[in-house]
Symmetry: C2
Subunit: 120 residues, 2 copies
C-alpha cells in the first residue's frame, strides 16, 4: 500500500491516448491519460467512466446534448451507453476511473486502441 | 450529466468528518470530505477506499505498518480489512471513492458516525 503522486506519475510517460493504470479498488481501475487533439467516437456499453481534469482543458462532445468543457479541478461522469468524443485541442491530462479491463475506445476497435493497458 | 467543480463543491459545506456525495459510477460513490484533527480507528471489512488529497495534509496511521502522509495531489488506496486512523492536524480536504453505502467509520459505530450521507 503505497501512496501515488499524480504529477510524478504523469512525468513517467509522454504517449497520448494511452491510459496508464495507477491503482485498483473494488473492481475499478484508476488511470492517468494524456490527451491531445481529437480522439474517436466511442461508447462503453457496460461501464460508467469518470474523468477528473488535472492539466489543460478537455471538451466532451455528445451526439444528443451540448458539449461539456472541463477545466482543471472539474470532473465528469459519462454514463454507460452514452457515445462520446473527447477533444483536447491544446492537450490535457486526466485521472480516469472505470471498471478494470475497460478499453479506452469502448466497443469501437481501431488502430488507436491500446489492447493491454499497463501499470506505471 | 453535469460536470462537477471540486472547489465549488468544497465551498458548500464546512462540517468536518461528514462526507458529501458528488458522483456515482459502477456501484461506487465519489465524495468530498473535510478533515480536521484525529478521526477514529476503523476498518471497512468489504470496501477498498481511495483518498486523493485536495487541500492540506493527511496522515494515515496503521496498526501494522508505518504512517503514510499525503500531500496535495497524492492518493492512497486503503484495502478492505486494513484498520486505519486518518489524522489531519492542520485540516485537509479529500476526494474519496468507495462503494455506494460505505460508512465513513466502517464497522465502528460511534457518535461521530454519519448514518445518511447526503449529496451536494
Amino acid at each position: 500500500m503505497n501512496k501515488v503522486n499524480l504529477k510524478q506519475k504523469l512525468g513517467l510517460f509522454d504517449q497520448t491516448w494511452t491510459p496508464k493504470i495507477i491503482g485498483a479498488l473494488n473492481g475499478q481501475e484508476v488511470k492517468l491519460a494524456k490527451l491531445d487533439g481529437e480522439f474517436l467516437w466511442h461508447t462503453h456499453e457496460e461501464e460508467d467512466e469518470m474523468f477528473l481534469l488535472l492539466e489543460g482543458s478537455l471538451t466532451m462532445r455528445f451526439r444528443d446534448r451540448d458539449d461539456v468543457t472541463l477545466e482543471v479541478g472539474e470532473m465528469l461522469i459519462v454514463p454507460r451507453g452514452v457515445e462520446h468524443l473527447p477533444i483536447a485541442p491544446h492537450g490535457a491530462s486526466v485521472l480516469l476511473i472505470e471498471p478494470a479491463g475497460t478499453g479506452h475506445t469502448g466497443s469501437t476497435v481501431s488502430d488507436r486502441t491500446v489492447v493491454n493497458q499497463e501499470w506505471i
